[in-house]
Every structure is written in C-alpha cells, then in structure tokens.
C-alpha cells in the first residue's frame, strides 16, 4: 500500500536519510523504531508531506504522492504532543478538518459524534475544553480528529511518550484495539522497543538514517539482522572472549573473532542441560526481584552475565551462592566485527 523508494533527505551538509526503502501492506500496523536522531520521524514527515525528499519517491496505492501537498495526501496524524487546539472544545477539535473541507453542519455533526462514540468519548466530553480531559482522553481526541476525515493511513508520532508508565501500558492496549477495529493502515513512530514489539505487525529498525532491519517483532527480537538491532532491542549479554573460548573448547562451532550475544531468558541457572547446552560455573553477584521473574547477575570469572529466570517461588538463589549456568550455543546471535561481513 505504501512504498517509499530510495528516499534520501539532506539538510544542507547533513544527510538525514540514506536511501530508505519501505513497503507497508494494507491494514498493517507498521512501526518505525530507533533511537533519537536516527531518522524515523524524518521518514514519517517525508511520508506525510512535511518534508520533500532530496531523492526518491513516495507511493500510496501505486499513486506517486511525492509532490502532493500535505493536505491532499489523505493521511491522518496523531502528534507526539497530540497538538490539540487548546482554544477549541473537543468537538471543535474533531470537527476542524471537516469544516476545512466545507462539509455541511449536519454531516459534520453526524461524523463527529460517530467517531467520538467509536473512540469512547461521551457527548459531555465533546463539550469540554481539551485541557479538562485526562491524558488518555486527549489521546482519543487526537485519534478521533485524525480518523474523522477518513484517511487512507494514520501516522502516530510517539503518541505515548509524554505519559506515565502505567497509562502508557493501558493506552497501548487501547490503541491496538482501536487499530484492529478501524482496520486502517497505521504507521507508528517510537523509540520504545517494548511499545514496538507489543503493538506492531512489522517493525523497521532505524539507525543513523538507514534501516537496519524490517521484520516481525519475533524476527527483530530473536533473529536480529545486525549487531545494532540486537543491542537496541531488549536486554542482552555479549559474551566475553574467555566465555566464547570455553564454549568453543566445549565443542561449540563459533568464530572467536565474531561478537556473540545471548538473550537473558536463554541462559538458565541450575537446570539439567538440554540439547547442545554447555554448563559454566558462576557465583550469584546480586539479584533483582521483579515478581514474575528474577534477574540474576552471575559472575563467570571473566564477565558478569545477566540471567532472567521465571520465579517459581522455590528455586531462588542468594548472592554469593555458587550456581551452574547453562548456555546453548544454538541460542547465540553472532555478528562479524565492523568491517567484516556476516551474521549467523
């Protein structure tokens, strides 16, 4: 549905995007993920028309929209700050785009009330000033305003970043539910990998103006294409040369020159080794109690390895206790050092 072809964006001497290629399918929830300044918002602004690319073309349903003005692209946007007009009521905020389109009053009223119902805003709330609403309600107004004009695509630019952790989780769920209900193609921008993994059908991970990987959350998490992606997504252990050497000595087929990583939950403590797993001895340095999980910091001699174990209420290890750490070389994600090609 959306196709961004060889997009290059330059600001004077600075190149913000280097040949970006993205294809988003109809009805998909697609996320641009990456750290600050990686180019994700620039890509979004190029799609929405706020930035005209230096090179490359943007297509929506095979129509080239690169030179189409912002207001004619039929793309709804939910801004980071929600950008709700503070001097208008909730109703007027939602109706703004319809009034610009010069729709008749009854039609505007009908559309506003229908969308308000869908996003769970009451008539009473419609008459309020936006400042009288909670963060969650404001987000719903922003979504309603973006959707009321029936856009082909909705873009959400870090809409949860200004909220507290609890509300963020709650609204994340609501957002996903709403997207499913409306079935609209959604582009979501975030730097929060947890948000990206929970919400998205597919994710594009950005770094320094290039896309490092496009894939499903599982691909991105378990089969990270690059060392950057593997480091950026989730918590991970990079194994020290000594640990790698010990695994090789134990029969693992690993290139000692490469960088080898393992996710925290793939390392196990005091378990009978399964498959090709190898056992290393370590001492519990400290632990963090999360309720459902317990995170251990285990000293393997050459490095402290982090382990996330399910809390069964029985197998809990105290700091100072000697434990066995099981690592299956098959669970490792390995990358050639910079300058050398390769990934396994």
């Amino acid at each position: 549905m959306i196709q961004m072809k060889d997009i290059v964006v330059k600001f004077d001497d600075f190149t913000a995007l280097h040949k970006i290629n993205v294809q988003v399918n109809e009805g998909e929830f697609f996320t641009f993920l990456g750290p600050s300044g990686c180019g994700k918002t620039t890509t979004l602004r190029t799609l929405t028309g706020f930035i005209t690319p230096t090179e490359g073309r943007v297509f929506v349903r095979d129509r080239d929209i690169t030179d189409v003005p912002i207001e004619k692209r039929n793309i709804g946007i939910v801004f980071q700050s929600y950008a709700l007009f503070p001097t208008m009521t909730v109703y007027d905020n939602i109706a703004f785009g319809l009034k610009i389109k010069k729709l008749k009053k009854p039609e505007i009223d009908q559309k506003v009330r229908t969308i308000a119902k869908k996003v769970d805003l009451s008539d009473e709330q419609l008459a309020k000033a936006v400042s009288q609403l909670s963060g969650g309600q404001q987000q719903r107004v922003a979504i309603a305003r973006a959707l009321v004009t029936e856009p082909d695509i909705i873009c959400l630019d870090e809409p949860l970043s200004n909220l507290d952790a609890k509300l963020r989780v709650q609204l994340r769920e609501e957002l996903k539910k709403m997207q499913r209900e409306f079935g609209i193609t959604s582009i979501y921008v975030t730097h929060d990998q947890e948000e990206a993994l929970t919400l998205s059908d597919r994710i594009a991970v950005f770094n320094k103006g290039v896309i490092e990987q496009i894939g499903t959350p599982n691909d991105i998490y378990n089969h990270s294409a690059t060392e950057f992606v593997c480091n950026f997504i989730g918590d991970i252990n990079r194994l020290s040369d000594q640990v790698v050497r010990r695994l090789i000595d134990g029969g693992a087929k690993l290139d000692p020159k490469w960088h080898h990583y393992i996710r925290l939950e793939r390392v196990h403590v005091n378990e009978t080794p399964k498959g090709g797993a190898q056992t290393l001895r370590g001492r519990v340095e400290s632990r963090e109690y999360y309720g459902l999980y317990i995170k251990y910091y285990i000293d393997l001699g050459s490095q402290i390895i982090k382990v996330m174990e399910r809390n069964d209420g029985v197998h809990i290890y105290d700091p100072g206790e000697t434990v066995q750490v099981n690592i299956d070389p098959g669970d490792l994600m390995s990358y050639a050092p910079a300058g050398e090609e390769g990934q396994s």
Binding site: V9, I51, I75, S81, A129
Partner: protein, 636 residues
C-alpha cells in the same frame, strides 16, 4: 538539492510578504531612523549669527552656558531616585511578602495604588494635598500661620512624588522574584544558625540582585527622563527644557532647536549606555533555583519586639503616605465646589457635580453687583475641554495601541516562521529600536522633522500642521509601544506548540486559516492584554503630547495639567480642582478595570471560561425556574 520543509509552489503569500516587508521598511526608515538621524545632524548644522554653519557651535554653547545645569539636575534626580525608590520599593515588598506584618493584605493594596494612577494624575493628586493651596498645606497654614505655602515645590517635591510614584515596578517584579525564592534555602540557612536578618542579607538579597539591578536601571532612566513631575512642580531638568526650547524661536535665544536636539541626544546616549549595561548583565544569567521541589516562601516573624513594633510603624506610615492622596482625591471628587475650593470638608456638601452636570457661578462684580455665569462650574463629562481631551486621548490611544499590537503580531508570526534566518533577527531589532531612544527624542524629532512640506515620503504634507499632528501623535504612540508589545507578544508565541501548525496543515488549513483559527486564538489573551496595557499607559500619557504641544492634539493629561496651571486665574477654569479629583478617580476606575480585565478575566483559559459559562447557564435556569413558578402561582 536539499530537502524542503513543507515546500509549496509559488503563491500569493509571497506577494503579501513582499508588501509587508516594504511597509515595515517604510515604517522603520521613515518613522524611526530618519527623524532621529535628522535630530542628530541638526546639532552639527546650527548656523551662527553670520548665517554660517558652525558644527561645534551648540557644543560650545553647552560647555560655556548653563545648559549643563539641566543635565546635572536630571542626573542628580536620577541618582537620588535610585536610592529613595529602592529604599521604599524594597521596604514595601519585604513588609508585604517577606516579614510577618499584621494587615499585610491591606498594606499591599495601599502600596499598589500607584498602579492605577500615575504620571500627571498622580502628580496633580499629590499637589492637591501638598501644594500651596493643597489640603494638607492649607491645614498646616491654618494651624501654623507662619508655615510656608511653597514648601512643596522644586527638587524635594519632585523627589518625594517620584519616589512613591515609581515603586509600581518593585511591586510587580521584585514581589514576583521574592515569591519565587525557594523557602528550603531559607530554612537551610536558619537550620545552620543564621538569624532572620542574616538570612535576608546573605540568602534572600543575593537572589534578588538581578531583579534589583534591572529595576535600578529602569528607575535611573525614569529619573533622567522625568517630565510631568518637574514640569508641574517646577524643577529644571532635561525634558521640560527640551519642550521649552522646542517651542522657542531664534529671535528669543540662540539656536533653541539645536540645543533641544543636543539635550535629547544626551538623554538617548545615557539610555543606550544604561540599557547596554543592563542587557549585558542580564545575559550573564540569573540565580536560578536548582531545587527540584521548590517550597513556598513562608513569612518571617521579626522576633525582636522593638524591631517588630518599628517595622509595623514604618509599614503603616508608608501606607498613610500612599493612601492619603488617594483617599483625599476620592473624597473630594464627591464634594461640592465650595468644599473643594476651600479644601475643607466642613463647607458645602456631597455631589456628583465634579463628574456630571454643571452649576451656575455667582460672583460680585467690581461694581458691587452680584452677577451669575450660567453653567460655569462644570464636571468632567460636562466640560467641553475635558471631554474633548478624553475623546482625543481615547481615540489616539485605541488606534495606536491596536496598531502596535497588529504590527507586532504580524512581525512575531514572521519571526517565528523564519527563526533560523538573519532577516527575522533584523525585524526583531528594528522593533526593539525605539526602546533605546527616550520618548522625548522620538517626539521632538517628529515635531521638528515633519514640521515641513518637504518630506517626500509623506507626500510633502506638513504632519505637524493643524489636525494632522494627531497622525504624528498616533505614530509616536505606536512606535514607542512597539518594544514592550514585542517582548510580551513574542513570549506568548513561544507557548504555541509547533505541532499545532503541522496538525492544522495536515487537516487541510492554509497559512492564513491556520493563523486565524489556531494560532491567533492562543495568543489572543496576551494580545488583548498588551492592547489594554498599552491603552492604559497612553490614555493618561503626558510626556509625548506635551512635547508635541499642539492645540490640535490636546490630550487628557494635558487638560489635567492645565487644570493645575489655570486654576484661580480670574476664574477662567472654574472647578478645575473638582474636575482634577474626578479625573483622577475616573483614571483609577479605567486603569483598575483594565487591570482586572487583563489579569482577572483575560487570564482565564477555555476550560475556565466554559466552567463560568456553565455557571451562568445554571443561574439563568434557576432564575427562569423561579420566574415560571411565580407565574404558575399567579396563574389562577
């Protein structure tokens, strides 16, 4: 090729921008730069007795004659004002905000009275009390027949009046600064054994220093540029002398115009130096609170009982000084002509005559016969001259205040849209330019420069001639108000979330629609506040209109001033004192109303407005319900 941010094809906005730019250039060059430069050059183009141009003639005259006296007098006033205003200003702020003084709320109201009447209204108010025929002087003369009736005149009177007149800024800015102090720092100092006064000098004052420095510079400039107090109370300072020289001719004295120009340039030089020092100091930064959880300042009890009593006496003494003129003016504004004339409450009665209506004047002619002048004793709104002054001031102030706001709003929109570009900085500096110049220089320059048929860019029209002087006054008012308007309105532009513009654009709104429907409603309360404050200042403005000194531009303040000057002269200005009192009350009401509208009603956001609208609806429903019930009861 680079990426274009929101690139748009060529459209009419470019033409509008071009026209706007040309208009702005016309305003800046034609009404800011050229007239002032002309004033500057006139100093060096003065002609001597033989008609030859002598570039240094005025300078020589300045050094040899008594012109230096005016500069020194102004400097003396400015320096002493800095001391007295800071003493009183800091005192009243500490007494109401820092120390625990009983009745601080009432004291604060008294100390804030100068915010609702200032300039000529205040000076004439003080004169009503302290001048030769003032209430207090009359009472003192009655009690002590040898008491000099001229005790309240000249330098001391100017210093006294201006000391109390110039503390409004302390009540606004120093009060805010002291309220912003983190109380935890005070508690920490007390915890470490510091006495309340040690805390005051070692912890509180250092944080107030930047504000105090700014206030000091502003007071110094006010003293240097003082106009109404020296004019009315009789003190030879720079500004009254400029006005006098501007109205003089070469037949009476040597090159008066060039001397007036020199004096205004000297004022400008002082102002520029002081403002440069101030802005350099401000750029160094302020003492910012590093506290993450700021605690509200709690009032400090003065533990020493003697110091406590003395502080209370001092506080109430100041309160009496501030309040007496106000109370007397209000009381006498409702007193009959006989009572006002005698400055006594024991004669005559209460009346609204000083505001509305007229009364016949009975007097004994030289022949011994009693004669009557019908309707000669008039109130503010029945006196043709006063009403004319109010009308002139109202119209000129509304136009100028509105123009200043419109220009600044358009300029700010441009500045914010072109943040990174040099030309937006130029626009900003151009609008701040009048801040560097004393108002008197601008008005004097206009008076001289446009008093000619040869200024081509105003189509060869003499703008100082006849009613056209009103155009000059409006432009001068507007130009003088540009820097203040810019500072205030620009601050409100910062509150506009940049994403709002993107959102409006995304929803299909063009630049004009976005500006009118999205940005303007956000800044409108600030713009209206600036408009109201500009109007408030201009409505009773005296310095500028006095500099123009034209019969066609007699403003309200000039009329009030004339009420002091002409009163008693063959009864040509009957009931001038009554009208003076009523005028001051009228000004207080107008200013009070404006301040309430600006800081009370205007500060409400949409949610507060919706809440009060709902309350009004509920009240209306209740009233309607009562009415319907009554009708039902009445209906058999």
């Amino acid at each position: 090729m680079n990426a274009k941010l929101g690139a748009k094809p060529f459209d009419s906005t470019r033409i509008i921008r071009l026209i706007g730019g040309l208009l702005f250039l016309y305003l800046f060059l034609g009404f800011m730069l050229l007239p002032c430069l002309s004033t500057l050059t006139s100093i060096f183009t003065a002609k001597d007795a033989s008609g030859k141009t002598d570039p240094l003639a005025v300078i020589r005259f300045f050094l040899a004659g008594n012109m230096g006296k005016y500069v020194l007098n102004s400097l003396k006033l400015a320096v002493l004002l800095v001391i007295t205003v800071n003493l009183v200003g800091i005192s009243i702020v500490l007494l109401t905000e820092y120390f625990d003084i009983k009745g601080a709320r009432i004291l604060r109201l008294g100390y804030m009275t100068t915010m609702i009447y200032s300039g000529v209204a205040l000076v004439t108010g003080y004169m009503f009390l302290y001048a030769g025929d003032g209430i207090l002087t009359t009472a003192l003369k009655n009690a002590f027949p040898g008491f000099s009736s001229k005790w309240f005149s000249g330098f001391n009177a100017v210093l006294f009046t201006m000391t109390f007149a110039c503390t409004s800024n302390h009540m606004l800015f120093l009060r805010n600064a002291i309220r912003g102090i983190d109380y935890n720092t005070v508690e920490a100092a007390r915890n470490m054994g510091a006495s309340p006064f040690k805390v005051l000098f070692k912890v509180v004052f250092p944080t107030l220093l930047p504000t105090l420095f700014s206030l000091t510079v502003m007071v110094f400039i006010t003293g240097l540029c003082a106009m109404s107090a020296p004019t009315l109370l009789g003190y030879d300072s720079i500004n009254p002398e400029i006005v006098r020289l501007a109205g003089s001719s070469t037949a009476d004295e040597a090159f008066p115009q060039a001397r007036a120009a020199l004096l205004s340039i000297i004022l400008a030089a002082f102002t520029i130096v002081l403002l440069t020092v101030l802005s350099r100091y401000e750029r160094k930064g302020h003492y910012l609170s590093v506290s993450k959880t700021k605690a509200k300042l709690q009032k400090q009890k003065i533990t020493n009982p003697i110091a406590n009593v003395l502080a209370h006496i001092y506080a109430y003494l100041l309160f009496i000084i501030y309040m007496t003129p106000v109370v007397m003016i209000v009381v006498f504004s409702f007193r009959s002509w006989e009572s006002v004339k005698a400055r006594s409450l024991s004669k005559g009665g209460w009346t609204l005559l000083n505001f509305f209506g007229s009364q016949d004047y009975q007097y004994q002619a030289a022949s011994g016969k009693m004669k009557v002048r019908e309707g000669a004793i008039t109130g503010v709104f029945a006196n043709k001259d006063t009403l004319g002054g109010i009308q002139t001031s109202f119209i000129l102030s509304v136009i100028a205040a509105a123009l200043a706001c419109v220009i600044v709003v358009i300029a700010c929109n441009y500045i914010f849209k072109n943040k990174q570009k040099k030309r937006s900085v130029l626009v900003e500096y151009a609008l701040l330019f009048p801040w560097l110049l004393p108002t008197i220089l601008i008005c004097y320059s206009y008076r001289v420069f446009f008093n000619s048929d040869s200024v081509w860019y105003v189509f060869g029209q003499n703008l100082y001639y006849g009613d056209r002087v009103r155009i000059l006054i409006v432009i001068a008012y507007m130009v003088v108000k540009l820097p203040f308007s810019l500072r205030m309105i620009k601050a409100s532009f910062y509150t506009i979330d940049e994403e709002l513009e993107d959102a409006a654009k995304n929803l299909g709104a063009g630049p004009l629609k976005t500006f009118i429907q999205v940005k303007l409603p956000i800044i409108l309360p600030s713009v209206l506040a600036v408009f109201a404050l500009n109007f408030n200042a201009l409505f009773t403005e005296y310095d500028m209109s006095a500099t123009f000194n034209s019969a066609h531009g007699r403003t309200y303040a000039m009329i009030i001033q004339s009420m002091v000057q002409d009163e008693g002269m063959s009864y040509t200005n009957l009931n001038a004192s009554g009208r003076r009192c009523a005028s001051t009350v009228f000004i207080m009401i107008v200013s009070g109303l404006i301040l309430y509208l600006v800081y009370g009603v205007g500060a409400r956001d949409l949610s507060e407005r919706l809440v009060s609208r709902e309350k009004r609806r509920q009240l209306a429903r209740k009233l309607k319900g009562l009415f319907v019930k009554k009708e039902k009861v009445n209906d058999p």
